[in-house]
């Protein structure tokens, strides 16, 4: 997962600019699916890789997410 997290933060700015609000699915340090619906993104990722475990993150700036009071 560390590889995917690292890849996500390297690409976050660009991904958020292009796909804000969608879900990004990463596998082996690369984005393999970006979709509005999480289910659809995961299914696309499974078809592409054959795997069942993926790193997932909604495309909003991480700083904004953790600045919120839950």
């Amino acid at each position: 997962m560390d590889k995917d997290i690292e890849a996500y933060f390297k690409m976050e700015k660009e991904l958020v600019r292009k796909h804000r609000g969608k879900y990004a699915v990463f596998y082996n340090g690369k984005p393999v699916a970006i979709e509005k619906k999480l289910d659809k993104a995961l299914e696309k990722a499974r078809k592409k890789t054959g795997a069942r475990r993926f790193f997932v993150h909604p495309l909003y700036p991480f700083k904004e997410q953790v600045n919120a009071i839950v």
């Binding site: 999480l38 289910d39 997932v56 919120a68 839950v70």
Partner: protein, 132 residues
């Protein structure tokens, strides 16, 4: 004892949410002020979690109580698997830009956790015995 660095000044840790047919890895916000673990509805659906009950909760930017589902979630932190009840909040009540997984005391109380804010590190120990 496992140690993670804060990200953007926040205590978040990588977790794996174990589903029936797929698993989701995500960064979860550690929130000792939250009684329960909280999950966005999309994750419940994708993990195919069974609802065991319904309830109402406050928070998440709403002045009113909001309806929630309660599910049993299996969650893995650095190889340790724990099952616990979690609150699932529907997408329409969930502010878009909030973390999708929040770890509250229903999980955190099973660990010894130190928030070392000065050094921006989170230390976590399982049962005081098994280092994770």
């Amino acid at each position: 004892m496992k140690v993670w660095n804060y990200k953007d000044d926040a205590p978040v840790i990588p977790v794996v949410l174990l589903g029936k047919h797929r698993d989701i890895e995500e960064l979860a916000l550690v929130d000792s002020g939250a009684k329960h673990c909280v999950l966005h509805e999309d994750y419940k659906k994708s993990l195919d979690l069974d609802k065991i009950d319904e309830s109402y909760t406050r928070g998440f930017g709403s002045k009113r109580k909001i309806p929630t589902d309660i599910c049993i979630l299996s969650l893995e932190i650095d190889g340790i698997i724990e099952n616990m009840e979690c609150i699932v909040i529907k997408g329409k009540y969930y502010p878009d830009d909030l973390p999708r997984v929040v770890l509250g005391r229903s999980l955190l109380n099973k660990f010894k956790i130190i928030l070392d804010g000065r050094n921006k590190k989170l230390h976590l120990e399982y049962n005081g015995e098994t280092g994770i």
